[in-house]
Amino acid sequence: MENISLAFGGVKALSEISFDVREHEIRAIIGPNGAGKSSLLNVINGVYHPNEGTITYKGNTRRQMRPYEAASQGIARTFQNIALFKGMTVLDNIMTGRTLKMHAGFLSQCLYFGSAQREELQHREKVEQIIDFLQIESIRKTPVGRLAYGLQKRVELGRALAAEPQLLLLDEPMAGMNVEEKQDMSRFILDVNDEFGTTIVLIEHDMGVVMDLSDRVVVLDYGRKIGDGTPDEIRNNKAVIDAYLGVAH
């Protein structure tokens, strides 16, 4: 990421931010409210188009791309405010994450015939593997709207995983969770990184979680990058302490 800048009218959301994400690492983005963390994530997956700067992903340099292009290149994400289909079951929600992998034609899918049937079975198996991985077997057939918040977050992660991403963007995966749910989620994030080799970029406010999980951390404040390095470096970075962590830390 080189010199990314983004402005909404006169508001500068991001100014000249550069950082890199290495393959297989867990990269955290932290910063106070309004620092531009979510905007940055939206730039990466093509929801926002930066006014300046370029993004290089897998050797391709570009200024902007559309979200579906990002998705087809192996980028998946979760949202700060859960964005699932509330009336659908957990299984179906995760199945929607497979959309891009489905190739059967509309007609054969409607008739559930031949290749469409085979494909459905394959996708179902993959979805079941994710359900097993996230240990949500007991809520497989439960409509998402009836689930507790922490579980919905887990389902959302499941849907992102269903796309078999190489790069996973997590926007505050632990917001609003209790200690136990956070521990579970941390374990899943580490396992995803470890088992599937997925590169992960996450935004998180819980410093304990960030310091434990991530390989490297980027710190934003008012749309500017004020720190970049390993958790230990960030912990001792004067600018970061002043701007964000405060004296309490």
Binding site: R124, E125, E128, Q129, I131, D132, F133, Q135, E137, S138, R140, K141, E180, Q183, R187, D191, D194, E195
Partner: protein
């Protein structure tokens, strides 16, 4: 081999031979099912025998020898059940351990049983064993079933189940006939399993059972209830508990029926419904949880449904159990019950996963009258049994058609029962333990010179010859004025209320009975929500005056009941309090099977006990709590104490 029925072949008296016999005689029938990735997978008896053979050879290749003990830790997984058989094939002894025990509790058993080999389910159990490895370096081999999250573990002790199986196949190629020789060497008098008692009294003891004893017990059960290879069970209870070992392992091996393993502990209800077992065994607590879930959902249902449910449950209470037992019932009641079965009981049984149940048992603790009647009235043949780890749970069982609420049934064939002078029940059974592991002192204490096992339970045989249990013999105390005090009896009466989860009664050598109560957060929480009573958590809810009022009603109801029984009228509860925290096995307040450790609780909360008897109306207490991850914290509260109304004894008081 005289009998034509292969399942009840009394010549076969070791578990490996039973397994091989099933593989030979019904090799294509399903032995085990497990749900994996949403689909039920089956293994036939022949496949199971094959797996066990590979596993046993693998263990042998790793140096596991006759006489060694193999720890087995995890939820009910087919591979863990096969590990039992594999260890037995080599003349070793499987030692199942409670999967939810914390690392330090496991340490005791590992040391006591001198475990060098362990087969465990997953990363969680591996982590616990690795945690105590520095304290117990003798643990040389840890074999895990589920490799998830273990990829980067480099400890030399670790090996995957798949790898062990490969090693085993290779070992067998190099040593043909090894497996058969091992199996042939097993004697019926060899120890087949070691089950650790939950440790209500002191440290856990390893109960050693022989092949002959355990098989005799299982065979007795199978004959008593007529189990066949067509029966189905769902194994979901802890593998370390004798009940599960008998029901999912020994009886399955004897009768050759199918054992189904749930997908995960959370999916048991769904799995139960999908499998529809024909034979079901659960402690009263499980039946209670099932009923509570149903009742909560009924309360939330529409008015018509609620009305229908309550009307027909009234019919069922009146005549359901009688119809099942084949007793005379009026024609109109029969018609109403038939209609109810169509509309309510049938669907309800289906929701509970009990549509196909032929025999259901409960045991291990007293069952509440409402609970017991509820299940029987909707046509589930729920019966009670009585037994201990030491007796392979083969002592008393109620026969179909002769079930009674307050007894545990008649002695089973081959069992002799004697009541000692102090009221203690003494038992002689084919399923008797061989000994306590490395505890000749305890063995001598528990088995009388004439071969009776001292159960430690107080009870008596009633006019029908049925055994009635009132309490633990040592817990039956006396009040200061000399009359009988049976704390567990009172506690059970309290716990029969849905709002009360646990109760602890005091009164031995004191002037009156007092009680600690733990509310059931689910039931009371629901009750509070209906009344728009806001609360933040357990402590807050437990301290609410309205909740105290609710519990007081329960206590006074118990007092009214106790007043009707001349023996127990003095046991009425005079004062009570609602405890500020839930009693927890992690803090040694309950055993792993959720029995209250009364003396430990009395000691830990001595200030509260003093306050109860000191006449105070509230008491401040600070308690240290252990979280699941091993950290500790403090919770503090002002616990209020209330007086409960007591009633004069109905009949004349019997002076002691």
């Amino acid at each position: 081999m005289a009998q034509s029925d292969p399942t009840i072949d009394s010549n076969v008296d070791t578990f490996p031979l039973l397994l091989l016999q099933h593989a030979r005689k019904q090799g294509n029938r399903t032995a085990v099912r497990e749900k994996n990735l949403g689909i039920w997978q089956s293994w036939t008896w022949a496949q199971v025998a094959n797996e066990v053979r590979a596993l046993a050879c693998g263990l042998a290749a790793q140096g596991f020898r006759r006489g060694m003990n193999l720890a087995i830790i995890g939820d009910n997984r087919p591979r863990l059940y096969w590990s039992f058989a594999a260890a037995q094939c080599l003349g070793g002894v499987p030692v199942p351990m409670y999967q939810d025990a914390v690392a330090q509790e496991m340490l005791f058993v590992l040391e006591n049983a001198e475990i060098e080999y362990a087969i465990v389910e997953d990363q969680e159990q591996v982590d616990k064993l690795l945690e105590i490895l520095p304290q117990y370096p003798n643990l040389k081999h840890i074999i895990y079933d589920d490799p998830r999250g273990l990829r980067n573990y480099t400890q030399p002790q670790l090996m995957s189940y798949e790898r062990l199986r490969e090693v085993g196949r290779e070992y067998e190629r190099q040593n043909p006939g090894f497996f058969e020789r091992c199996v042939a060497e097993i004697r019926p008098q060899d120890v087949c399993v070691m089950l650790y008692t939950s440790g209500t009294t002191g440290k856990p003891k390893g109960v050693c059972h022989t092949h002959a004893g355990f098989i005799a017990a299982a065979r007795g059960d199978v004959e008593f209830d007529g189990f066949t290879p067509d029966d189905e069970v769902l194994s979901y209870l802890p593998m370390a508990w004798v009940g599960d070992h008998l029901f999912s392992y020994a009886q399955a091996m004897v009768a050759g029926f199918t054992v189904n393993c749930p997908e995960s502990p959370e999916t048991v209800m769904t799995d139960l419904r999908e499998i529809g077992p024909t034979y079901y065994f659960a402690p009263p607590r499980v039946f209670e949880n099932l009923l509570t879930t149903v009742m909560i959902r009924i309360d939330d249902a529409s008015r018509i449904k609620r009305h229908l449910f309550h009307t027909f449950m009234g019919v069922a209470r009146r005549c359901g159990a009688q119809i099942m037992d084949g007793k005379p019932v009026s024609l109109s009641d029969r018609l109403l019950y038939w209609l109810g079965d169509l509309l309510i009981y049938g669907p309800l049984r289906n929701v509970l996963g009990m549509s196909r149940i032929r025999v259901a048992y409960t045991g291990g603790a007293a069952i509440g009258p409402d609970l017991y009647r509820f299940y029987r009235s909707i046509g589930i043949n729920l019966k009670q049994l009585y037994g201990q780890t030491e007796t392979s749970v083969y002592v008393c069982k109620q026969a179909t058609g002769a079930a009674k609420l307050d007894s545990v049934g008649r002695p089973l064939p081959g069992v002799e029962i004697k009541i000692a002078d102090n009221g203690e029940v003494l038992v002689k059974t084919p399923g008797m333990l061989k000994e306590y592991y490395k505890r000749p002192d305890a063995t001598a204490e528990s088995i009388s010179p004439d071969g009776y096992f001292l159960t430690g339970d107080a009870g008596f045989l009633d006019a029908d010859g049925d055994l009635k249990i009132i309490d633990r013999a040592k817990d039956v105390g006396k009040f200061a004025h000399g009359s009988l005090f049976a704390p567990q009896f009172i506690e059970n009466k309290l716990k029969f209320f849905p709002y009360i989860k646990e109760a602890v009664c005091f009164g031995d050598k004191r002037s009156m009975a007092c009680a600690f109560v733990n509310i059931d957060i689910q039931a009371v929480g629901n009750w509070a929500e209906k009344r728009n009573l806001p609360y933040s958590g357990y402590i807050d809810l437990a301290g609410k005056p309205d909740v105290y009022g609710l519990i007081q009603q329960c206590v006074e109801q118990v007092n009214a009941d106790l007043a009707k029984e001349p023996h127990l009228a003095d046991s009425q509860i005079h004062r009570f309090l609602v405890l500020h925290k839930e009693l927890d096995p992690d803090e040694d307040e309950l055993t792993r099977t959720r029995k209250v450790r009364r003396s430990f609780v009395a000691q830990k909360y001595a200030v509260l006990v003093d306050a109860l008897y000191g006449g105070k109306t509230s008491q401040f207490i600070r308690t240290q709590v252990k979280f699941e991850d091993g950290r500790t914290g403090n919770i503090e509260a002002d616990v209020k104490i209330r007086d409960a109304a007591t009633y004069p004894a109905a009949a004349q008081r019997i002076s002691a």
